[in-house]
Symmetry: D2
Subunit: 294 residues, 4 copies
């Protein structure tokens, strides 16, 4: 993901330094015209520093660690966090950068890796207005559209987590009705066509409906444990705001049962197999594969 | 709904007899060119007899009752049930008509009343292939598209109930994320735009998202108790097929709490108020209105 | 169950007529001193007529059918329904008997078959006060204690269904914590001892905790499909009263998944296997037995 | 809680040093014969050091902080954690003390403050066998019974969290059936008597059933936010072990809605008000009191 974004920035003519804990992974980008930064601090010595990392811990380590990115970033510099991090960490980063006269913008993106490569990401940004305006050329280089969410950076994280949660609701609800209609003798393809050509004609139903239909769970666009992580983050945010989310609770249990049953290395949409299985239907070969239960 | 469909049939040049338990309600149709049938049996004396009624009990009474529609229908005649009835009743009607050498086709429709008036319904038909083929001109006169579901009439009912259930999943999931993001200080309009212009760009999100945003629950497109009824029917079908539907259970409780709290005369989407309320948010004036709890 | 009750009535010196659709089943009772009734109406020709039947349909057929029990019962006679029937049927029976100047008392019992044999049932009665008082010697002959629930017979059915529902909550909650602690390496016996010797020292935890510990699901005290039926009845009553029951919804899905996975001929407590299985734990040999999924 | 335990230790003739961040709170104990420790390290200079603190953060600060308890504890000394801490922290404390050649025993207790004062606590201990044996006189001085859970200290925390979770299942299930039967016109006192004198005759039903009946939520035995915290801890433990807990998810949402609606300063059992409220029943004056929603 980070690689595709950086490549698009280079292609758009931006001057890009790139840091990766495994420098070999940055090689292709360097070939493409990026400069290699040897430390996060070095990568931070730019007007804008973007992070796209696996989880909260990685962001903390890279930004706030010794010789971290914030140490390199000048006063007035902007740190843009593009990965899905927790609302709490976004709030902490905001304070952290403020104390250093730096600016923090959260700009998580929607889209699977193919979309990133094709500059088709949707960017959701929150934070300082002027900073977001200044970042326009950056966002234009990597995505098809920018949505400005609000003035507090963590709001973009909240919306991103809400969006990912909404995707899981689509997956679970499709899994339930496919199980129901399949047991009633209706071909799932017919149900899929009916839905996606009428009221439910959105990419989310087409993409995930197709994956469910074809049981294409071995092709990992987003790993199942990361799906669980995002579910945990949305529930943590919901707890901090005192908002019950009953659908999120159902999905959480689906993720946990999936990991317990050895589906942890499949695509996150594979939690759909639980609804299938609970209906007494065959869930296909993946479960009986080489995966061993955790 | 039935009125709009009959009007479109008349307009398309079909010869239409119309029966309504309250004859005055048929008057406009008679003005438009339909013939008034004084009993269900009389309405049945046609090659094709269509029912569009409130619930299972009404269908049973009209079709199988004394002087009922089936008594008028000739051998080889087709009964088309267009309202949302239970899978079990559809199976019983199929047997009932078979015993009389009649043909039963279930053809429930998707679409709110405006769509019916505009010939924009989606028709989902199941039953005898030749009968469905023969009904083409009828379906063309009332809807924009026909989906053939399968050979057993009740399969169309199952799919219709599954579709309605999927709509309630959209409503609940939207209600949850609107509550979450609203408590996080994000304007729901922004969340709505982001969703409906990206991954979730389907009519179902646009229509219901808008209703939720504008709290337009007093405008009853489909009454809340009918929503509960359809939830009950999908769960009955699921029980008969041994299929757990955890999302349907959540929605059921939302409907029950809505009726318990006096929201029973609002639009079915008003169960979304429960997620809002559970988050400690103000649910607007409707609740404090004149409605008294059941 | 009915047999054990009748035997205790005979033993207590009551004059007992007995009707069973399969007369051979009544033989042992006749040996013990009961008189054989050849029709329900004949069984009804007594001051008090007791029904203990499998489900609503059986009660309807025996009581209200042609030559049914109510046809034999004199004005002023009392019909006591001791099986677990629906609230709606109890209300209908109440009207039905009233129209015939008969009295209806619902008196469902708590206790497994062993308790019935040992006169250790708990009787919960609702209906006309004087009738319940008159029935005292009957209740004393079959149970250890009478609880008077209220003046409307169906209230006893509601409480009975609520009680059965509460038992399922105990089973599910025990199944969840056994799965959790077992995966944490704690022997379930230790957890069982701790609970049942402290805050949770009630028969319900001892009885069902033991069954879960020993996976004694093949020994059917109460068949799983009857458990699902009672869950359906409590949810129907809850729907009529507009009361959401989230725990009942969870249990319902457990029952459905159990039937879907071929556990339908086990004891009702076997739905506990679902929590075990969802945790990725081995659920023992029963599942891999000869049962085929429905 | 800590005070009552310390008092019982003094009364049993043990030599007790006591540390409290607010020294004035230790005064009564000093009067009773305890010695005042001015730092956690000083309190640690004993063969056995007991912690009974509000949450994980407090335990971390007191034990592992600068001049913390572990710094005072000699090699071979035993740290006994009696409050409800997370499984993860117990595992970390175990390693931490091991590295210092110290011994860590987790020994959380079951019982409300009255039980602590009356030496009626139930102690659940896990860890090194010899250490638990050596601690016998300590446990005897404060509780009525010891349950040894296993060899890994965190196992006692897991069981304690499971036990607290089981209590919440009792509260929720009682709340649901009280709502149901109350709407059916049955006095809750009758339901309470029936349950607690038959299958459900355990302290947990008597204690919480009584609180629910009398709506005695203002009397805070255990604060609602602490109940939510324990729910979070049990779910974290469940996530680490990949165990879905659907009942815990329902309870979590009850806690969140309770805080959202301004019930956060009531007893933890007050989440029962949500089932009452969702049934459209009046939940009494507490909600309309002076509490303001969070």
């Amino acid at each position: 993901m980070g690689g595709a974004i950086a490549r698009n920035l280079v292609a758009a003519g931006h001057r890009v330094s790139v840091y990766n804990r495994t420098p070999a992974r940055a090689e292709a980008l360097v070939q493409a015209g990026a400069r290699l930064a040897l430390t996060p601090a070095e990568a931070g010595r730019n007007p804008v520093a973007i992070t796209m990392l696996a989880d909260d811990a990685a962001v903390e380590a890279i930004v706030m660690g010794e010789d971290g990115m914030a140490a390199g970033l000048a006063a007035g510099g902007i740190h843009v966090s593009m990965s899905t991090i927790s609302v709490a960490l976004a709030d902490r980063l905001d304070s952290y950068h403020r104390e250093r006269d730096q600016i923090f913008v959260a700009a998580p993106v929607f889209g699977r890796p193919e979309a990133a490569a094709a500059r088709k990401l949707f960017v959701t940004a929150a934070g300082n207005d002027a900073a977001i305006a200044a970042l326009r050329p950056v966002f234009d280089a990597i995505g098809q559209r920018l949505f400005v969410i609000g003035g507090r950076p963590s709001q973009a994280c909240l919306v991103k987590l809400a969006g990912n949660f909404l995707i899981t609701c689509v997956i679970e609800s499709l899994a339930e009705i496919f199980a129901l209609t399949r047991k009633g003798g209706v071909a799932s393809e017919i149900v899929f066509d009916l839905l996606t050509e009428t009221l439910f004609s959105a990419p989310v139903y087409k993409i995930y409906g197709k994956i469910l239909l074809e049981e294409r769970f071995e092709e990992v666009g987003f790993a199942l444990p990361l799906g669980l992580k995002d579910n945990r983050l949305v529930q943590q945010a919901a707890e901090a705001l005192s908002v019950p989310l009953p659908f999120a609770a159902i999905v959480r249990d689906r993720f946990l049962a999936s990991i317990a049953k050895g589906d942890g290395d499949l695509d996150w949409s594979a939690f759909a197999r639980r609804a299938t299985e609970d209906a007494g239907l065959d869930i296909g070969p993946a479960e009986n594969g080489t995966r061993s239960p955790s």
